[in-house]
């Protein structure tokens, strides 16, 4: 990075099925106010606003950032709207990082939200495209074959998906913002209906309303702030084509390349041992095992074994998604930024009851499209 950049404020709403107490602008404003208060800043301290969300059809407003300009405090400021499918929350925050790193901006407010209760995500995520058989099965129907392919390749036992949910739900009991906070046993998960083999209802993310905002600051100003910032060591967004014959949907090359780039820039050569905790995008249970391999934490065919051994549980070697992750809260457009924000809170030492003890280096990760878009950052407690 051209100059040091840090996170100086994080604000997050609670995530739930329906926030009927606020409209879209109210939900976004709530996160913005929390982030500004967290950083001890006001709107006048903000130079630009970068907002992201997933498809506009989820709420039924075309380019809603135009009407949200007031709620965002963006009047007479630069405002950009990012959309990179499920990865959007993460790529939005990284867009803000680049703005500050360039030297053109000192402090940028970055925001992501989704108010899924305004519409019907299953419909909005089931596009009907020319020459493509319509699945009309939402994201779960789309990704289930990827999970089946992973199981077929690795011979992973059937309980790994449900076990991932048990861990995530246990983590969410410690996160006051999480949508699903009730613990589930392996049996509980196994007893939920099968939706898309091998994904059961209990192995699927919820539909949530929620928003998150962060203040991204130059290093110089971050040092003058009231709190210890999270330093952004590196961050990149990569994408890959859909219909390339050489594509591997189970472990996409874009994810591997992005992770390598992010690790290289942050000086990480052994992610399993050098990273203290990771918030990774797991909307369906099996993706945790898949990403453990794709992100280079474990070797090919070894991801599920780490989960089986309990290495990714809270308090274990590498706690994955101490917040409970996407499996416990999924305001889609915000979910990627929540991963990055949670990683930042961990290295700030301010993750509350789900704080990973002594976390100094954390990964935040999100993916989107047909496992084509990847965006991630490494944050650290050290400059």
């Amino acid at each position: 990075m051209k100059r040091p950049v840090a996170v100086v404020g994080v604000g997050q709403t609670h995530h739930t099925t329906r926030r009927s107490d606020v409209n879209i602008a109210g939900l976004v404003r709530e996160a913005v106010d929390l982030a500004l208060r967290d950083a001890g800043l006001e709107h006048k301290d903000i130079d630009a606003v970068i907002i992201g969300k997933a498809p506009d059809m989820l709420e039924g407003v075309c380019q809603p950032e135009q009407f949200l300009a007031g709620a965002l405090g963006a009047h007479m400021k630069p405002l950009l709207r990012v959309h990179t499918a499920g990865s959007v929350g993460a790529s939005t925050a990284l867009t803000a990082v680049t703005h500050v790193a360039s030297g053109l901006y000192e402090r940028v407010l970055t925001v992501a939200f989704e108010k899924q209760s305004e519409g019907n995500a299953m419909w909005a995520l089931s596009p009907n495209m020319p020459f493509v058989a319509p699945l009309v099965a939402g994201a779960g129907g789309f990704f289930a074959p990827y999970c089946r392919a992973y199981i077929a390749r690795t011979g992973a036992p059937a309980h790994i998906g449900p076990l991932t949910v048990v861990n995530a739900r246990d983590n969410a009991t410690r996160n006051e913002h999480a949508h699903l906070r009730e613990p589930m046993s392996l049996e509980d998960v196994m007893n939920t209906p099968m939706l898309w083999e091998p994904l059961r209802f209990g192995e699927t993310c919820p539909s949530s309303d929620g928003a998150i905002a962060m203040i991204i600051s130059s290093g110089d100003l971050a040092k003058k702030g009231p709190r210890k910032p999270a330093w952004v060591k590196s961050g990149y967004s990569y994408a890959e084509a859909m219909w390339v014959p050489g594509r591997d949907q189970v472990s996409p090359k874009a994810g591997q390349v992005c992770a390598k780039h992010v690790y290289d820039k942050a000086g990480i050569t052994d992610p399993w041992n050098q990273i203290d905790t990771a918030e990774i995008y797991v909307p369906f249970s099996w993706f945790e095992a898949m990403w453990l391999e794709n992100l280079g934490f474990r070797g090919v065919g070894e991801g599920w074994k780490a989960i089986d051994r309990g290495d990714t549980k809270f308090g274990a070697h590498l706690p994955i998604n101490p917040s409970g992750g996407v499996l416990c809260s999924n305001p889609i457009g915000a979910s990627g930024m929540i991963r990055l924000g949670e990683a930042a809170l961990q290295v700030m030492g301010r993750a509350g009851a789900h704080q990973v003890e002594g976390a100094k280096t954390a990964l935040g990760h999100a993916y989107g499209g047909g496992a084509q878009y990847f965006a991630m950052w490494i944050v650290s407690s050290q400059e």
Binding site: K2, Q66, P78, L125
Partner: protein, 373 residues
């Protein structure tokens, strides 16, 4: 202004704008444009560091329209990427920011949209505040008419001025082969066309059209190897205002004024009148006059040349109209503008807007020489 990195437009390609490209999807329309832009720069897709697309799901009538664009943008092996739900001119801005951050040296910027898949008037109604303004049934023509009325009511222009501005754009546009409207006309003829929404007549408004666009940007050191006459970015700035129509003075564009002032300051220019060419994304003549007022340029002065391409009145393909303005300044300053070229042009201003009533504006200042030594 502190010294920035010199970045240039080194290539631009677009399809001629048509009402409906019946035989191609938005992705298929984009493919030849990306190929052409890269070929003209003599660069393979592997030689591009970064890609960024501008489109909107609602215009395509489906979610994730931009995902398919990855295949034709050449994202294999995987490439650093972003998509903005904005006119591609704003995408070019972010590519420029990345170059300022030293994160890339070359980038392609694409704009795509299949406007004919839906009804833009209804789609853009859905851009308004869903609680208080969209339910009123306002569409972009009716909000534009409110703005034009406010402008005329202030006494800043007359109805005849609107007709004259529209006619100038339309007649300029005859010489631009990429335009959808290329028939010559007169102010009198346009002033007699039926009302769209008073005070805007149908002859003052662009037809619905679609295209695909691709621009190549490169930083100093690379730019010279990709283009015989790179067109250098001297300054750029963008600003958004509140959407609420009753909360701002619609007869003026305060956001455009601030963005233009800042872009000019970055370029080291005292006033907009110092450029040779201005390309404005004005979807009706009142918008053009409001923008020119914000720039402090008298449209009757004859210099700078305003919209020699014909502007947005002759072709308004959503998500690309703004990038085409920047592409047009590239064409003008690199000797690629053909019959609508302005002789001797060496500095230009390009604008793009988004939202109802010029809510969001970006201004670019470009020149045939490098800005920073």
């Amino acid at each position: 202004m502190s010294k920035l990195r010199n970045v240039a437009v080194v290539g631009f390609a677009q399809l001629p704008v048509v009402a409906r490209d019946e035989h191609r999807t938005a992705t298929e329309m984009l493919y030849p444009v990306v190929r052409q832009a890269l070929q003209e720069c003599g660069v393979h897709r592997d030689g591009i560091d970064y890609q960024i697309a501008g489109s909107t799901d609602y215009m395509d009538g489906r979610p994730f329209g931009f995902v398919a664009a990855l295949d034709v943008m050449g994202a294999w092996p995987p490439r650093q990427d972003l998509h903005l739900e904005m006119d591609a001119s704003f995408c070019a801005y972010y590519a420029w920011v990345r170059m300022q951050a030293g994160e890339c040296d070359t980038a392609i910027v694409v704009g795509h949209g299949k406007t004919s898949e839906g009804d833009p008037q209804r789609v853009l109604n859905l851009q308004l505040d869903p609680y208080y303004q969209a339910p009123l049934g306002l569409d972009p023509t009716s909000t534009a008419a409110l703005q034009a009325s406010a402008f005329l009511a202030r006494g800043a222009a007359t109805a005849a001025d609107l007709a004259a501005v529209a006619a100038r754009n339309r007649n300029n546009g005859v010489r631009n082969p990429d335009n959808q409207l290329r028939s010559p006309t007169t102010a009198n003829e346009l002033a007699q066309s039926p009302w769209a929404v008073e005070p805007l007549r149908q002859g003052y408004l662009p037809p619905v059209g679609e295209t695909a666009t691709c621009m190549v940007l490169a930083a100093e050191g690379k730019a010279e190897t990709l283009c015989d006459k790179p067109v250098w970015i001297h300054g750029v700035d963008h600003r958004t205002e509140l959407q609420t129509l009753g909360a701002r003075d619609l007869s003026r564009s305060a956001g455009a004024k601030l963005a233009a002032e800042r872009a000019l300051a970055m370029a080291g220019l005292a006033k907009a009148g110092d450029v040779d060419v201005i390309e404005l994304m004005a979807a009706n003549p009142a918008e053009e006059l409001i923008l020119l007022e914000a720039l402090g340029v008298d449209p009757r002065a004859g210099k700078p040349s305003i919209n020699p391409s014909g502007g947005a009145l002759c072709a308004n393909p959503v998500m690309s109209t703004g990038l085409i303005r920047l592409g047009e300044t590239f064409r003008q300053l690199s000797g690629r503008a053909g019959e609508h070229g302005v002789a001797g042009a060496s500095r230009a201003l390009a604008h793009a807007a988004q939202g109802h009533c010029l809510q969001t504006n970006i201004f670019w200042v470009v020149g045939s020489q490098r800005r920073w030594s």
